[in-house]
Amino acid sequence: VKDTIDCRFLSFDGTERVSGSLARPDRYRQLFDVLSRPRPAIPRGAGLSYCCASAGEDVVSVSSRRFDRVLGLDRDAGTVVVEPGVTVGALHDLAVRNGWYPPILPGHPEITVGGCVAFDVHGKSGRTFRSCVLALTLFHPSFGEIECSPEVDAELFELTVGGCGLTGFVTSVTLQLVPVAGSSLVRRRSPVADLSTTLEALLKHERDHDFAYSWNDLSARGNSFGRGIVYLESFADETLRASRRTPGRGAGEPAGRLPVPLLGRRIAPIANRIYYEAERRRGRSRLDLGRGSFPILGKEGYFRALGRRGFREYQMLVPIPRFPTVIERLQAAIVDTASRPCLGSLKILDAEARLLRFSGRGVAVAVDVPAGPRSRELFARLDAIALEVGARVNLSKDSRVGQRVVAELFPEYGAFRSGVESIDSGRGFDSALRRRVLG
C-alpha cells in the first residue's frame, strides 16, 4: 500500500507542467500523517485551477476528494457544514432539496468547496465566496487543527479565504445558504453592439436580476469589436424536468484535448460570429437549476477544442471609471498582436477588495486565447493595461503572471506574503503558484 505516488500535473489551461506527488488519504489519521511529514504539501481539490495552484515541483498534492462529507445542515437557519472535498454540485443539490441555495457558485459542478475557499471564487454572482463563509476549520502541522471565523482568529480566516491553500488544509467549512428563490432559471439574452453598451446594460440590470453577465466577441474587427450578448437570469417558479447532470468526459482532464487547437486564430472569428448570431436569435430560455446554476456544465468540449498546447485566460477587475480606457487599450493590444480571442466576457463584481483575492468593485473582464507566442505578447500588453488602470488579476485563472506585476497590482501583497510566512514559517505548504507569485 502506497500513500503517495509520483505524479505529473498539468494546469487546467494546459500550459504549466510540474512533477510532484499525489496523496489521496481517506481518513483523518492518514491526512494528518501525510501533512505532518517534512516534505512540503498543498491541498488539492478537483485540480481545475488554470494554473498549478494545487501542485508544485517536489510538492505532495494532498487530495481532498475523499473528504466529501456533509457534516451538518440546519434546515431552519440555512447553515451547512461540509468537508472541503464536497463538490459545489453536491452542495447545490443538497441545498435545493432543502429549500436553500448556495449564493455563490463557480461555473462547474465538479469544483470543490475547498477550492472555492482557496480562491474566493465569484462565478455568476456579483459577490465572492467569502460572503457566505461563516467559519473554517484549518489544519497546519505547526498548530494542529483550529477553528477560525471573522470573529475568532480573524487574521487567519482572512488569509485562508483566497489564500491559495498556503495556510494549511481546510478540514471543514461552515456556509450560509440563502432561501432558494425559484425552482428554475429564466435566461434572457439581449444583443449588445460593443463593450461600452455591454457595461451600461450590466450596470442597469445589476440589481433587478439574480445574475447578469455577458459574452463578447473580441475577435471581431473594427466597429464589431466587443459585440455580444448580455445574459440576464432570474429565478422562476416553474418546475422543469431535471436535465442530465453528468459532466462531459474530461471535465478535469486536459488529456482528452485535440492535438491542434480548433479555435485558433482563423476559426475563432467564424465560431464567434456563428455563436453570436445563434444566441441573438434565441431570446429567452428556461433552465432547471441543476443546469442553469453551472454555465460551464455541458460545455467541457470548449476546453478540449482549445487543443493540447493549451490556452491562456486573462481576467482583470477594472474600476468602472477606468473601463473606457481599457476598451481602447484592449482593442489596440488585440489588433497590434494580431490576436483573435476565442472568448470574451464581462460581469460586475462588488466585493470588498482584500489581500490577493479577485475582489473589489469593478468590471471583471475575461479574455481567452490559445497558448502560443502571440498570447504571450498579448498578455504582456494586458499586464501593462492592468498596471495602468489599477486592475486586479485573477490568480486562479493565470498561469504566467509574475511576482513583480502582482506585487504592484495588489496593495496588500506585502501583508499577504508576511501573513503566510508567519503562519507557515517552515514552508510546509508550497505550490508552483506560491513560487511564481510570492517567490
Binding site: K2, G72, L94
Partner: protein
C-alpha cells in the same frame, strides 16, 4: 418501516460506499469502524444527505479484547432488528512477504480472519434467533492467487471463504443467507498508485452490485465477474512456471 443494517468497515472504501447505497434506499444503519471521527463524519453525511437513521458504533477488529457478542447485541439494540450484516473491514501490510514477525502476522490474521469470523458467527446467531437475515462479507482475488506480497493476507481471506462455506451449511434452512464477494481491483486505498493489469472498479459500483444483489444468490462469487475467468486462467499456469515471475 426501514430495514436495519450493520456495516463494519464503513469509514472508507467499499464499506462507506455500501453504507451510502443502503442509506439511499431507505435502510436504517449502524456504521462501524476503528476511526471514530471518520465514522461520525460518514454518519452525519448519510443522515443529512439521505435523511437516513444512522448510528456510529466504533469497533476495532485488531483489538484482542473485542467482544463480538456484545457488539452484535449493541448494534441490534440500536436497530431493533439486524436484517443485514455487511463486513468489509480488512487490512493489508506492506511487509506481508510471509516472513514477517509474529506481531504484524497476528494483526493481519486477527483483522482479516479471526475477528471477522467471530463477528460473522455473532451476527449469524443473532439472525438465526430473529428467524432470518442476510450476511455479506468481502474476500479478495488474493485468496485464489496468493503471492509474495500478501502471503498472510491471502491465506486469511482464503480462510474466511472456507469458513463462510461451512457457515452456509450450518445455516441451511434457518433463513440466514450468506454472500461472499471475492473482489478484484477496487479504487480504494489498497489499489492507490499500484500498477494494475486491469482497470479498478469504483467503490460505488461495487456497492451498487452488493446492495442490488442482496439475497439473490448464496456462496462465494467474484466481482467484477471477469475475475472468475482471470483466476481460472491463472490456475491453468503451472506452478513451476508461475514461481519464476515476480508479481
Amino acid at each position: 418501516l426501514a430495514e436495519g443494517a450493520v456495516v463494519v468497515g464503513a469509514s472508507s472504501g467499499v464499506g462507506r460506499a455500501v453504507a451510502e447505497e443502503l442509506a439511499r434506499r431507505g435502510w436504517s444503519l449502524v456504521v462501524s469502524a476503528r476511526d471514530r471521527r471518520d465514522l461520525e463524519a460518514v454518519a452525519a453525511d448519510l443522515s443529512t444527505r439521505e435523511r437516513a437513521v444512522v448510528r456510529a458504533l466504533p469497533v476495532d477488529l485488531s483489538d484482542p479484547g473485542l467482544d463480538p457478542e456484545r457488539f452484535a447485541r449493541a448494534a441490534a439494540q440500536e436497530l431493533g432488528r439486524v436484517d443485514l450484516f455487511v463486513l468489509t473491514a480488512g487490512v493489508v501490510d506492506e511487509e506481508d512477504d510471509g516472513l514477517a514477525a509474529p506481531a504484524p502476522t497476528e494483526r493481519l490474521v486477527r483483522v482479516n480472519y479471526l475477528a471477522a469470523i467471530q463477528l460473522l458467527a455473532a451476527f449469524a446467531r443473532l439472525q438465526r434467533e430473529q428467524g432470518g437475515g442476510q450476511i455479506v462479507a468481502i474476500s479478495s482475488i488474493a485468496a485464489a492467487a496468493p503471492r509474495r506480497r500478501n502471503a498472510v493476507y491471502s491465506s486469511a481471506k482464503a480462510g474466511l471463504e472456507v469458513y463462510a462455506r461451512g457457515l452456509r451449511h450450518a445455516l441451511y434452512g434457518t433463513g440466514v443467507r450468506i454472500q461472499v464477494y471475492a473482489l478484484g481491483y477496487v479504487d480504494t486505498r489498497l489499489a492507490f498508485g499500484q500498477r494494475l493489469l486491469f482497470p479498478a472498479a469504483s467503490p460505488e459500483a461495487v456497492a451498487r452490485q452488493i446492495v442490488g444483489a442482496l439475497g439473490s444468490w448464496e456462496g462465494v462469487r467474484y466481482y467484477p465477474r471477469f475475475w472468475s475467468v482471470v483466476v481460472k486462467l491463472f490456475g491453468l499456469v503451472p506452478e513451476s512456471l508461475r514461481l519464476r515471475f515476480k508479481y
